[in-house]
Structures are given as structure tokens and as C-alpha cells.
Amino acid sequence: MSENSTIRALFDSAGLHEPGTDTARVVVHGNRVIGSRLVRGLDVDARETADGIEADISVRVGARIETPIHMCFGMLPETGKQHIVLRVRMGKGAAASILAHCVFPNALDITHSMDAEIEVGDGADYSYFERHVHGREGGVLVLPKARVRVGENARFKTEFELIKGRVGMIDVDYETYVGPGGVLEMVARISGRGNDRIRIGETGILDGEGSRGVLKSHIALRDRAKADVHNRLVANAAYARGHVDCKEIVQDEASASAIPIVEVNHPKAHVTHEASIGSVDSKQLETLMARGLTEDDAVERIIRGLLS
């Protein structure tokens, strides 16, 4: 298959359109970089490795890239391994977001792992939106791991979402340190079914005065799926503020556990948490049914809302 046809097949699986020519992009199939386009202020150095790629992405000091940089990691075969090593450097005052589609439409036994080091410079703004497209059988082991440093008055946001197909197994491991006035937001929205396994381990360390952080995990499970959420937010400085939010809806024989850990090491810091696990809220359900929705439709809407 030519590189262009591979790109087209990956995009079709994810329901994506070819981005405009003003959009920076990197497309990686297995361990090959099969498409790339840069824009002013963005540098990408990607090298193929035995089982994936190693990439350095940097946004220059003060550069502000308005259109999200599109990255597509994927594999069309049913089996294989793709390991991504990513180093992201956001220069002082830079701004950029990455929309990453991870596409494994035919997976039966694929391991997709990522080791990322992310440095968000002072006053910079970086968002990473990770959207997964899997096959109907799951068949993917997803292991995203990231260590992030957020500088003074900088912002870092990450969202992890499965938009199509079954989970397989996901084990998220993110750790972020936030400097003075910095802002952190980590969001995971995942729906599991069959025998899917989901583990979310997110840690935010609010080291700087006036830093803020939110860790949010919303998970819906049915059949025999299982999820464990361990979200930890630590406030070490004055006026650090944070919130941990874990919500899981469990149906059928699915099971879930949520352990929000909040730790405050400064008398002027404040961190809150909320966690709920249970079936669909009966008042929400009855409200929608009292408008004429069937029970199944009402449950579907409530779950869709939770994951949106």
C-alpha cells in the first residue's frame, strides 16, 4: 500500500478529513513517518526506531500556532507494536495544541505505548488532545506515560478519549509538576465494555504559589469491564488550588474503583475531591423517561453526557 493510501485508510477509519495545507501534521504508521508538514514556529525532528518513532517537537519562543497540529499514530495490521518516544518543548510564551488520533481499526493484538517528556515554558500554553479509534474487538494495549513540567504562568491541558471501537486495555500514567501561577487540567473520558480493562493513574503536583489543577476521569462501564482510577493531586504552595473529580457509571457485571488522593502541604493551599461510582442516577433516568425516552435511550444520553 502506498503512503498516500495508508494515510487515507487511517483517516477513513477515524472519520477524519484531510486537514488544510495551513495545518501542521505528522502521520506515523507503525515505525514509519509517512507524512509530515510543518508551519512557521514549529520544529519536528522524527526518527524511526525498531518498533516506533522518536520525535522531538518544539514550538519556538513566542510562536503562537493557531490551528491545532494534527498527529496521527496508527497501524492497519491486526498485530504489532508501536512505541512512541516524544519530547515536546514549548518555548517561553509559545502556544500550540496537538490533536493526536491513535488509530488501530483492525487490532487484535497491538501494543501502542508512548513515553513523553513535556516541558511547557513560562507563560506558554500547550494542549494535547488524544483521540483513540480502535476496532470492534478491542485488541489494543494502550500505555501512555508522560512526565510534564509546567512553567510559571503556563498552561497544560490534556484530554484522553476513546471515540470509536472497544478499549482493550488502557493504562494511563501521567505525572505533572506545576510552577507558580501555572494551570493543569487532565481529563479522561472512556467507555468500556466486554472485558475491557481501564486504569487511570494521574498525578498533579502543584509546586508553585497560586498554581491550579484539575484531574477529571469520567468512565462508563458495561458487561464485564473493569476500571481503576487512582488520581492524586498534591498542593505544596500557598494559594495552590485543585480539584479531583472521578465519576464512573457501572452497568451489568462491570466493576470500578476510584481512589482520589488529595494531599495539602501548605496551610494556604486548598484541594477538593469528589468521587462517585454507581448505576445511572435514578432521578436523571426518571426525568428523561418522564419526557418519553425509553430506559435504554435515557441511559445512553446520560452516559453520553458524562463522557462528553
Binding site: H218, D281, S282, E286, M289, A290, G292, L293, E295, G305
Partner: protein, 263 residues
């Protein structure tokens, strides 16, 4: 509101006839409703008034068929047909709906989608129309989530917008003034008039004389019993003079067994 008098002893006829027949319910060994019989007039506004714990909300929840309110003696009939085995969603499809005292929050569910949940042939125009009818700016509200960022009053009005979009035949409204400021309450009263103008039967559950005045027929409840019914003015006067404060909230049998009087 124009208070029409209904002839004594006359039974309602026509489409959307809701009848409560000798309804009794016990929860946790305590009688919550005792032998309640009511005929609601199609297209009219009714108020069930009484102190807290009188059984008004229980009756509304039973009419809607909510979980925990299905084990009763007697019957609830719509157009002569028993609703005993009819689930909530089917009752709603037959035109019955309920506005909660404290409406549910829905994380991530947009106001627009909430309003359209019960609307047939939903459109943005329908959302806009429903929000304007309850005095909310569609530009500001349609794309917001029905979650904790909305005040109780805003959620109440949005719930009412969803009821208006549904075009129901029978609307049960539990404490429509709960958590509402004066301006919002006037919007809710406008919506009640709007529902009546469209031919809907409205049943208000309240212990407020202000809300009672929106109705055409009043039903006074105490300790699970319907103790009187009739004109809003007469029942309102009685409630104000005899029931505030209520002597019977300790669960004792009513001290004076008021006869149920016809309008």
C-alpha cells in the same frame, strides 16, 4: 387566572381525563395516601395544597409511575384505562409528565438536547421557542450543560422549557416556586397559562397560596387524606386560617374529620 366553576357532581369528559380512584398507599408501614378519589378536569389548572408530608408529592409521583410508587390500592385511570402496569416512559408518551421540586442535574447534557429529549420533530427553532417562553435567552443557555453551573431557578425554568417542548396533555408540577425568585416565578406562571391555553391539564403541588391562586380547582390534603376540595378562594382561605401552622404534622389522625365537599 380565570377561575371556571365546574358543576357539582359533574364528571369530566373528553380527551386526557385523569381519574384517581380510592387510592391508598403505605410506605414503611405508614399510610401515605388514604382512599383518595379525584377527577381532574382536562384543560384545567388544579392545585393540590397541604402542609409538608400531606401526601401531595406522593400522589404526583404515583400518577407518573416513579420507582417506589407502584405498590398501591385503588387505581389511576387515563381516559378510563388503568395505568397500573404502564411504565413511566409509556405514560409520558401518552401525554403525562412531571416537573420535579428540585430538577435533576445532568453533567455534559446540553440544554438544547435536554429540551429536545421529549420533543417530537425537534429543531433549534423549538429549543429557542421553549427557552423564550420561560424567559431565558437561547443564545446564552442552549449550549450550556444542565449541570451545577446552573442555579436551581435556572434549572427549574429549563425543565419547564423541556415540558413545554414536549407538548404534554397532563403536567404535574411539584412545588413550582421552590428556589425561585419573583421574576422567575412570574415566568413560570406565564408558562402555566401557556400550557392551559394549549389545552393541557396542569396539576400544581404546593403549600403556597401564591401558587394556589394560579389554579382553577383546589384540593386540600392532610395526613394522606383529601379532606376538602372546591374553589381556590374558599380552600385558600381555609388553608391560610386553619392549616398554617398545621396541627397534624405529628402524624396524629386529623383532629376534625373534614368532609370532602364538592365544588
Amino acid at each position: 387566572m380565570n377561575r371556571e366553576q365546574t358543576p357539582a357532581g359533574e364528571k369530566p369528559t373528553g380527551n386526557g381525563r385523569l381519574e384517581i380512584r380510592n387510592l391508598s398507599m403505605t410506605l414503611g408501614g405508614k399510610p401515605i395516601l388514604q382512599h383518595v378519589t379525584i377527577d381532574f378536569w382536562p384543560g384545567h389548572v388544579h392545585a393540590l395544597i397541604g402542609p409538608n408530608g400531606a401526601g401531595k408529592s406522593t400522589l404526583a409521583n404515583t400518577i407518573m409511575g416513579l420507582a417506589g410508587y407502584q405498590d398501591y390500592e385503588g387505581d389511576v385511570l387515563l381516559d378510563g384505562e388503568s395505568l397500573r402496569e404502564v411504565p413511566i416512559d409509556e405514560r409520558a408518551r401518552r401525554g403525562i409528565t412531571l416537573g420535579w421540586q428540585e430538577p435533576a442535574r445532568f453533567e455534559g447534557l446540553l440544554v438544547r438536547d435536554y429540551i429536545l429529549a421529549g420533543a417530537k420533530n425537534g429543531s433549534d427553532e423549538k429549543v429557542r421557542d421553549a427557552l423564550l417562553r420561560v424567559g431565558l435567552d437561547p443564545e446564552r443557555y442552549a449550549s450550556r450543560a444542565v449541570d451545577k453551573t446552573l442555579s436551581g431557578g435556572e434549572r427549574k425554568r429549563i425543565e419547564l422549557a423541556s415540558i413545554l417542548a414536549m407538548k404534554p396533555r397532563i403536567v404535574l408540577m411539584d412545588e413550582p416556586d421552590s428556589g425561585i425568585d419573583v421574576d422567575a416565578l412570574n415566568r413560570i406562571f406565564d408558562a402555566i397559562r401557556d400550557l392551559k391555553a394549549r389545552g393541557a391539564t396542569v396539576i400544581l403541588i404546593t403549600h403556597s397560596l401564591t401558587v394556589l391562586k394560579q389554579a382553577e380547582h383546589a384540593f386540600l390534603f392532610c395526613n394522606g387524606k383529601l379532606i376538602d376540595k372546591g374553589s381556590v378562594d374558599r380552600i385558600g382561605r381555609y388553608f391560610e386560617n386553619q392549616c398554617l401552622p398545621c396541627d397534624h404534622q405529628d402524624g396524629r389522625e386529623s383532629l376534625s374529620p373534614f368532609p370532602v365537599r364538592e365544588s
